[in-house]
Amino acid sequence: MAEVLVLVEATRDFAVKKVTLELLTLARTIGSPSAVVFGASGAAAAMADKLGEYGAEKIYAGEGDEIDGHLVSPKATALADLVKRTQPAAVLLPSTQEGKEIAGRLAVKLDNGLLTDAVELTADGVATQPVFAGQVVVKSRVTRGIPLATIRPNSLTPTPAPASPQVEQLEIALGATDTLAKVVDRVIEQKGSRPELTEASVVVSGGRGVGSGDNFKLVEELADLLGGAVGASRAAVDSGFYPHQFQVGQTGKTVSPQLYIALGISGAIQHRAGMQTSKTIVAVNKDAEAPIFELADYGVVGDLFKVVPQAAEEIRKRK
C-alpha cells in the first residue's frame, strides 16, 4: 500500500496534538500512514508510541536547530524532498496556520494543487470544504500532482490502530533561502489546563453581553465544568474582555466542537463563520430576536447572569 505522509503537530513539550491523531486515522483510509515529525532533537522518539498507537507504520524525523529555529521554510524543503523520494499517495497536514503555510510552499515547490480547510477527503482524493462561513459546501480535487490537503481539526473521531513504527532520521539539505526567517524567542503567554480552542470537543464562548473581562469568569466556570475551551466573539475581544487568540469567527478561529455554547453573543455572520459547523449549538441571550437562535439547537431567552450560575450549580449537583 502506498504511503500517506502525515505532518505531525505537537506542543513544544512533545505532546501530540489531537488533530494529528485525526490525520493518522484519515490516512489509514487512503494508504499506509507515515508520520513526519519536525522539531527539536528528540521529538520523534518522544512521540513514537503515541503515533504508533494511531497507526503510523513509519516515522520520518527532521530534528535539530536548523528545522526548529527557522520559520516554516526548512520544513517545507524537507517535506518536498521526502515527497519526491517516497512518492506518497497523499500528503495530509493540519489546517492550522503553520500547516497551511508549509502546504503552500510545498504546492509551489512541487507545482502541485492544494486543498485547504477540508473536513473530509475520500480515498480517490475528493475533499469536502465548507466555505463562506459554512453557507456553501464545495467538493474539490487536485488536478495536478497528488492529493495535498490540509484538514480542519475536529473533522473526524480519531481511533487507535496499533502499529510499531521505526524512526528514520531525515538527512536535510537546506538551501540558503530556507534560513532567512529566524525564530529568536518563543514566549508562552498562558497555558492553563483547558483544551485548545480548535481541538476542544466543548467550547463555551462569551460575547458583548458578558459585559466585562471580570464577568468572563462565568464563561470560564461553565467551560471548566464541561471540560471545554473558552472562546470569545469579536465584540468581546474588541471591547478588551478577552484576548484575541480566543476569538471565534471570521477573523479568528474556526471551531467545530461537539457542543458550542454561546453566551451573550448575538450571532453576527462574522461570528457564525467560526462556529456554524459545530454539532450541537446552545445559546443564552436576553434578546429573543438575536440571530444566534436561528442556529441554536437549544436556546434560552434570558439573563445570562441568572441562567449561567444556575446551570453551573445544576451541573455540580449532578456530578
Binding site: 497551511k100 503552500g104 492544494l114 450549580e313
Partner: protein, 258 residues
C-alpha cells in the same frame, strides 16, 4: 523603504455569498469590498513610511471592478497602485495566483511586501509564503506586531500558546492579523487625492506569464461541485422563567454532555 501592499477585492463577508455556475467565486452580483485584513496591512505600511520614508504601492490582481477597491486603498494614503488585469486570470488557483503576483512584484522590486494574513473569501492563508517561496525572500507571517530597524524586520507571530519572535533582513514578505493596529479612515482629502493617483495596469503579457499557466485552464485544483449548505433550523427556544439554567442542563444531559 519601498513597500508593496497586496490588496484583494472580496465579496462582503457580511452579505450572502455563493459560487457561480462555473464553480468560481460569484463576484458579479456580490457586494464587493476591500478584504478587511488588507486594511491592516495598508496601515502597517503607512506607519513604516511615516517613520522611515519611502513609497507605498498597492498591488491587486482582479477583474475590472477591483478598481473600486484600489481607489479605496489609495484613499488611505498609499502613493500608487498596480492592477494586474487579464481575462485569462479568471478561475486562477492559489498556486497560479502566487506566480502572477510574484512576477508583478519582480517589476516593482520592493524591500518589503505586506499582506493581510488571510482573505475573508478563500481564507486559504498561503499566498504570503507561496510568494516568498517564488521570490526567494524571507516570510514573516501572522504578525501581531512589526518593527523595522534599518534593514531588519522583527515580528511577534501569534501562536496557540503565546507568540514567537521572528526576525529577518529585507527584502521580505510580512503578513499581518487584525490585532496589529487600528486602520485609519480615509479623509475627504485622501479620497479626492486617490482619484488622481497613478494606477498602472499590467496584463499577463507584460509579466511574461503564459495564459495557459493561469486561470481555469492552468489551475492545479478544481471545484467539482458546490451546494448551499442546508440552513440550520433553530431548535427549541425557551424563555427563562427562573428555571432556565436547570432546563439548559436538562437539555445537555439529554444530549449526554453532562
Amino acid at each position: 523603504m519601498n513597500i508593496v501592499v497586496l490588496v484583494k477585492q472580496v465579496p462582503d463577508s457580511g452579505s450572502e455569498r455563493n459560487l457561480a455556475g462555473d464553480n468560481t467565486v460569484e463576484r458579479q452580483s456580490a457586494n464587493n469590498v476591500i478584504n478587511e485584513m488588507d486594511e491592516y496591512a495598508i496601515e502597517a505600511a503607512l506607519k513604516i513610511q511615516e517613520a522611515h520614508g519611502g513609497e507605498v504601492t498597492i498591488l491587486t490582481m482582479g477583474p475590472e471592478r477591483a478598481t473600486e477597491s484600489i481607489r479605496k486603498a489609495l484613499s488611505m494614503g498609499p502613493d500608487k497602485a498596480v492592477h494586474v488585469l487579464d481575462d485569462a486570470l479568471h478561475g486562477s488557483c492559489a498556486v497560479a495566483t502566487s506566480k502572477v503576483l510574484a512576477a508583478a512584484l519582480g517589476t516593482l522590486n520592493p524591500d518589503l511586501v505586506i499582506a493581510g494574513a488571510e482573505s475573508t473569501d478563500g481564507r486559504v492563508q498561503v499566498l504570503p509564503h507561496m510568494i516568498a517561496e517564488r521570490l526567494g525572500v524571507a516570510a514573516l507571517t501572522g504578525a501581531r506586531k512589526l518593527t523595522v530597524d534599518g534593514g531588519t524586520l522583527t515580528i511577534e507571530r501569534q501562536t496557540e500558546e503565546g507568540y514567537e519572535i521572528v526576525t529577518a533582513a529585507t527584502p521580505a514578505v510580512v503578513s499581518v492579523w487584525d490585532t496589529i493596529n487600528e486602520p485609519r479612515y480615509p479623509s475627504f482629502k485622501g479620497i479626492m487625492a486617490a482619484k488622481k493617483k497613478p494606477v498602472q495596469t499590467l496584463a499577463l503579457a507584460d509579466l511574461g506569464v503564459d495564459a495557459g499557466e493561469v486561470g481555469s485552464a492552468g489551475a492545479t485544483s478544481e471545484v467539482v461541485e458546490h451546494a448551499k449548505r442546508p440552513a440550520r433550523s433553530g431548535g427549541q427556544k425557551v424563555a427563562d422563567d427562573g428555571n432556565g439554567g436547570a432546563a439548559l442542563v436538562e437539555f445537555l444531559s439529554s444530549e449526554k454532555f453532562v
